[in-house]
Symmetry: C2
């Protein structure tokens, strides 16, 4: 007999867990829709030709690949087989893979459906993705992403609206967060000024350690990467950047005075900060020059959201890209988007115990079963409640009272209706409030009211 | 440059299609919850040891199998490789597969979580499944199932509630359907009476052709399967069964008088019909002895639902099973369940054009963009509307009026707000009803009211 289990890195979700997850998904969806974003879905499987080469060499390895159907070994040459080169053979026996994120499928979707959609295209997509990563705490092989993007518009209003969405989602979820923001053009400007364009990653990695190791060590680390003394001298004002966002931007304007692209980046951030202020965005927004997610990919604003009251990596992130669809033959489509990490948000809410007590998905009332006669009395009551939109159920067979009550407890059903001779005679039910233990006779009208 | 495409048998869903699909899913979910069913989810990937051998030899072939990660060819012997036996090699290079239905994962779930769930366990599950079937009209390689099951109760009340759920779902979706019902015990009884237990499938296949080919040809077909003349003579009253459900059951009582299990089946159906009548189920329920879905699997009632106004296979089906979890080591768990085929329902609604005109997911109002000053005027209006829960958006950049209007048309946005000097001076907007073309000046309060 098999003892059943599931693949490592994957999870089942019980009803209580699903209610909690749906609370997150529904909150996010409601806000997306408030801002005019519309849902799309793409298949779990994509052609490997769509996926391969989009996530780097490491990403290619982490794709889950689907074995071709039928007699896939047929036609393979002896030396191919005996070479035992798993990577080469994969191309021969597999042509589909599970999606790795929602971005590449979205780019593919936009190109494939370009004549059906109207631009600017504001879409959201909430689906699982799969990665053959080594599973560990907070890292799963199947997890949900909630992506929201606008493509076909380079207006900074879109950046504002994404920030407003973050602000609103976390306000509703009651999670305290900080939004970190940077701009790829500022990073390009810095690299330009110091004449070390290709070292920009080394520099941001070093800057990132400022709080921990201090200015001196940061300078040492930068020097160790082969960056010239002259360039390091020019970097000093950037390393010492401090104050409010406005003050930082002012200092950057001086430093980047000779870089057109750098000044463009500063000006974009000024516009975004100005719009956020005008729109009274509540969440703290922090200019963070060390923020450099997917450097080769983003071309403008870069965002990252961190939860303040719990140790957890970034729970939302994204930015502006100018050529998402180029790889599929559609050039010049600018877009900006962010992705909410639903599984990390789920873990944060679990840690902080921030779920609402009641869920719309729960049963509101359980009718206790005694026997045939009581059953036939209760059934029309059940129908009447359901017709009023009340989630209601009856224990399906006469069982011990204790068993039926603990069923109600386990399902967190707030009310139980008990029916005996007296109740039937008076055309009422005995309604028990499971939280307070209070009992009272109720007519159907009273029941609808109370439940 | 790659021309992007998706694997055959899979589909993308555009925003309009998603709104239509969500209408189906939400309708089904709402009804499931009204009856106290709770949602679970299981991973897309299951261990092949969980899936293999559960769907017959053909089913095993139709499973999508995931290639092991890493150097999966390593360690395979020369003769294994050169044998090129795809089936044998699959066991060596793949240990996970995509779920084929929701029933086996559910059985696995119940066994694995038996100590966390309270029985009777009423669960629903709405997730995609994958089958490497040859794609054709109405048959996809990725499609959604919506399963609803009660396990751990053999009360016929559960059968009633599933019928009520079917009745309510299709009433809400406005699809005219007939519910066909049979009972596995009656089929066993028939086999017992005529002494041809193992020929029951041949017999039901033949009975199924009665309408098309008539009694004589049906008898010929049965005889051709090697069934004795005596048995065929005993079958005649069953083949000639006619009248109302009650009349049919009465005739069956006579025919099956010597079969205990057969009479049990008749009595179960009588109870179910009685309950349906008491609860005023509106949908026609038809006793259909040819209904024999998954004969080896079901042990009591068998259901199937057909749409009346469109050519389409069964759109919902299910039945009672007495040993769902036995294969995973948990014996004696009786259950009953049905599965709604969301993709077929989607096709039916498309054919009959039965979607509601407006969807809660749509944007209600678009603000037209003219320039900086108008933008700053409009943004607080947008916020105010969103705070009232109104889905609202602004065209993100100043573009030609015609372009903005056709954007609203394409997204089926019912209202457009236009702002110029006059409106700003009066603290109003010009509201255009996109359906009627009517325009009127509106204050914020009036806007919330109208939209």
């Amino acid at each position: 007999m098999q003892k059943p289990s599931i693949p490592k890195g994957t999870r089942d979700f019980t009803p209580q867990e699903m209610a909690n997850r749906n609370y997150i998904f529904n909150t996010i969806k409601d806000v997306f829709r408030l801002y005019g974003f519309q849902q799309i879905e793409t298949p779990a499987m994509e052609n490997l030709s769509t996926l391969m080469g989009k996530y780097g060499e490491e990403g290619d390895k982490l794709l889950f690949k689907i074995l071709n159907s039928g007699d896939y070994m047929n036609g393979l040459a002896d030396d191919e087989l005996l070479g035992r080169n798993s990577i080469k053979l994969t191309n021969k026996i597999s042509e589909k893979g599970l999606r790795y994120d929602l971005t590449v499928p979205f780019a593919r979707f936009v190109v494939q459906h370009q004549n059906e959609i109207s631009f600017p295209f504001k879409r959201y997509q909430i689906q699982p993705v799969w990665r053959a990563d080594r599973p560990q705490k907070g890292r799963y092989r199947e997890f949900y992403q909630c992506d929201v993007d606008v493509v076909g518009s380079d207006s900074l209003l879109n950046e504002l609206e994404l920030i407003q969405i973050v602000d609103e989602v976390y306000r509703r979820l009651k999670i305290n967060v900080v939004i970190k923001i940077n701009n790829r053009k500022i990073l390009s400007g810095i690299a330009e000024i110091i004449g070390e364009a290709e070292k920009i990653t080394d520099i941001t990695v070093a800057i990132d350690k400022m709080d921990k190791i201090g200015l001196e060590k940061v300078n040492e680390e930068i020097a160790s990467k082969g960056i010239s003394d002259e360039a390091i001298a020019k970097l000093q004002p950037i390393l010492k950047l401090s104050g409010t966002n406005a003050e930082k931007l002012n200092q950057l304007k001086t430093v980047l005075a000779d870089s057109e692209v750098g000044l463009k980046g500063v000006s974009e951030l000024e516009t975004i900060f100005g719009l956020c202020e005008a729109m009274k965005v509540q969440t703290t927004i922090e200019l963070d020059l060390t923020l450099a997610r997917g450097l080769n990919y983003y071309t403008g604003a870069i965002f990252e959201v961190k939860a303040l009251d719990v140790e957890m990596g970034s729970i939302t992130g994204g930015g502006r890209y100018d050529n998402l669809t180029g790889v599929f033959g559609m050039e010049g489509v600018s877009g900006v988007g962010i992705s909410f990490g639903a599984d990390r948000i789920y873990d944060v809410l679990n840690q902080l115990n921030l779920y609402p007590e009641t869920s719309q998905e729960q049963t509101r009332i359980l009718f206790v079963s005694f026997g045939e006669k009581e059953l036939m009395y209760c059934l029309p009551w059940l129908s009447a409640l359901r017709n009023k939109g009340v989630n209601a159920e009856i224990y399906p067979e006469p069982a011990k009272m204790k068993k039926q009550m603990s069923y109600a407890d386990n399902k967190r059903i707030p009310f139980v209706a008990i029916v005996g001779e007296t109740e039937m005679k008076e055309n009422k039910v005995m309604l028990k409030n499971m939280k307070t233990g209070e009992q009272s006779l109720a007519s159907l009208e009273e029941l609808v009211e109370l439940v």
